[in-house]
């Protein structure tokens, strides 16, 4: 082994995978593995990510290895970009392993026009989308649902919106991970406090790193998959990044507290209180799965409502025909826990800032995509490329069917603001022909490209590791930020 094969206490086990053995700490039950190249690993080693992924490797019932994707960065409890599978029924479920923004995820819409055909209508389109999509405050502008209507959304997801509210189409629902509905959702497991936070927030974007981007398809690297996804060079797309809003935040808060108080009863000791967990088969574990599923369905309904508002903007600026022929390519979750079959076992796969990436032939992806693999969307940072990938067999062999979820932060918000002025960034993006609609220059600076890793490098590692293959690059032409 050469010196370059050992970095930050990790040993290189192949081209893109590094490992901390289970013996590194007395409380680790399995190894911790990181998918990265040497340069990314240097960035990863700069914060507490590696300690956090080792903490995850201590969870009761954890199986195989605790995994980190190449976009990993320090989070709370789990690192962002972390994947861990626990063995059902007695392994644990950890709400912090899903995160506060339950089913934060990405939806991609494809318009039947090219950027050349769009011409000078880019600015009016982005402006109209910004007018119709509430950002900023979480208290107004959302579709107000309460009582039974909210229960039905939490139970059934966007299917109910399509059937009863004219929001989205049955085809959209088919082209959504899990068809936009996790089984076992129980609104009764969601507190009144969570309901009150979510009641008026359906169809709102939220703040932080949530955004909506108008793009053009750049280079197409795999034409068969691009054809299947209905994407071609020059085409206009809209990418929506949002989650379950206050409802999901509160569900996680409620269950972290409850599980924290039950740790002694379940005889669980943890290196970090935020990893609070309970056996899947316990009352706490079962209730959380029901509440998480309800929040996940709410999040899919939120992105469906956001997509509906985008289509309304398209109708106003580009006409009804274009709006009606705007298709949903797919919608993926990147903060979620799911019961899945891997290697003949039923596992609870926690994906905290990681995307499901099922390969060709999987019965869990839409028939139209089954030949090429599940679409995986990797948003870059503001003003840089995003990527469409296709799930590959290596994901099932190496990462419990998972890939990365973004570029991954490398600088804190404060550090980003020290290096970048929001008004200068706004001018720079506009000078590159990117229309920016964001209420705050401070918010822009916090999400500046310099704050993130190189998304192109991240997706190349994912591809070399065999987890997902690059299909097409998406280049920004308009950004709406919360």
């Amino acid at each position: 082994m050469s010196e370059s094969d050992v970095k930050h206490g990790l040993t290189r086990i192949d081209d893109t995978c590094w490992e901390i053995p289970a013996e590194a700490r007395a409380d680790m039950r399995v190894p911790a593995r990181v998918f990265a190249d040497a340069e990314l690993l240097d960035e990863i080693g700069g914060d507490l990510s590696l300690e956090q992924i080792q903490n995850v490797a201590t969870l009761p019932g954890v199986y195989g290895a605790a995994l980190a994707m190449p976009d990993i960065h320090q989070g709370y409890g789990f690192p962002v970009g972390g994947v861990a599978a626990t063995v059902a029924p007695d392994g644990v479920i950890s709400p912090g392993g899903v995160g506060y923004d339950i089913n934060c995820g990405v939806r991609l819409l494809a318009l039947p026009v090219t950027v050349e055909e769009l011409g000078r209508r880019v600015e009016p389109l982005v402006s109209e989308i910004a007018r119709r999509v509430p950002v900023g405050t979480g208290r107004s502008g959302g579709l107000k649902l309460d009582g039974r209507a909210l229960d039905r959304v939490m139970t059934h997801g966007p299917r109910i919106l399509a059937a009863e509210h004219g929001i989205g189409t049955p085809e959209d629902v088919e082209r959504t991970e899990s068809r936009g509905c996790m089984e076992g959702a129980d609104p009764a497991a969601v507190s009144d406090r969570a309901r009150s936070r979510g009641a008026g927030q359906l169809g709102t974007l939220g703040s932080g790193n949530h955004f909506l981007e108008v793009q053009r398809v750049g280079a197409v690297l795999r034409s068969e998959a691009a054809d299947a996804y209905g994407l071609s060079e020059g085409q206009v797309t809209v990418l929506i990044h949002s989650g379950s809003r206050g409802l999901g935040h509160q569900v996680c808060t409620d269950y972290v507290r409850w599980m924290d108080s039950a740790l002694a009863r379940h005889r669980i000791k943890l290196p970090d209180r935020q990893l609070a967990c309970a056996p899947l088969s316990s009352p706490e574990g079962r209730a959380y799965m029901s509440a998480m599923a309800a929040a996940a369905n709410f999040a899919w309904a939120n992105r469906a409502t956001l997509a509906h508002r985008v289509r309304e903007a398209i109708r106003k600026v580009l006409g009804r025909d274009i709006a009606e022929r705007t298709r949903q390519v797919y919608d993926v979750a990147h903060n979620i826990a799911k019961l899945e079959e891997h290697g003949g076992r039923t596992l609870c796969v926690h994906r905290k800032g990681a995307t499901r990436a099922f390969p060709p032939g999987s019965p869990d992806i839409p028939p139209a995509y089954r030949r090429v693999g599940q679409p995986v969307f990797i948003p870059g940072s503001m003003g840089t490329s995003s990527w469409v990938l296709a799930g590959q067999p290596g994901a099932m062999e190496r990462s419990f069917g998972s890939a990365c979820h973004g570029a991954g932060r490398r600088l804190s918000r404060a550090a980003a603001k020290r290096r970048v002025k929001g008004d200068e960034l706004r001018r720079e993006l506009e000078a590159r022909g990117i229309v920016v609609r964001a209420p705050s220059n401070v918010g822009l600076a916090e999400e500046a490209p310099i704050a993130y890793k190189d998304v192109d490098r991240v997706v190349r590692v994912v591809e070399r590791a065999g987890l997902a293959a690059r299909v097409a690059e998406l280049l920004p032409i308009g950004v709406v930020k919360g």
């Binding site: 990510s49 709370y76 900023g136 507290r257």
Partner: protein, 133 residues
């Protein structure tokens, strides 16, 4: 006021040092108010609301306190301005918060238990809280 923001790659980490436990809670309110500030400045129509919380330990109580302030901001549009009254017990607190109606910045998703701490020091108390933003 004795609090500071500590560098964290993705989230916001708050460090409070105060002479008394009550002051830790008061400083936490000021910090939450800073994060949620809508930039609209002082407002004539101040309102007050009561808070009653229970928690198994001081650190969890501090997290619950900050969560309550974030919740009232998100749902009722109330920006916390000051602690009018606070009484700490072994397993909880009772308090009155002065706030103003506004459009709080929707910046804080949640108050986490990651690195959560509330400990005595030679001069008083020190607390650490990481917020998901």
């Amino acid at each position: 006021m004795a609090y500071e923001w500590v560098e964290h790659t993705a989230e916001v980490e708050l460090l409070i040092e105060a002479g008394s436990e009550e002051q830790v809670f008061a400083d936490a309110l000021t910090a939450v108010g800073e994060l949620l500030d809508d930039g609209m400045g002082a407002h004539d129509a101040d309102v007050a609301y009561d808070v009653t919380l229970t928690a198994p330990d001081r650190a969890a109580l501090l997290a619950a306190w900050m969560d309550e302030l974030v919740y009232r901001a998100e749902v009722d549009g109330l920006l916390p301005e000051a602690v009018e009254r606070i009484e700490l017990a072994d397993d909880g607190l009772s308090a009155a918060v002065r706030a103003r109606r506004g459009e709080p910045r929707p910046f804080v998703k949640a108050v986490t238990y990651h690195r959560l701490a509330f400990e005595p020091t030679a001069d008083g108390w020190q607390a650490t809280v990481v917020l998901d933003v």
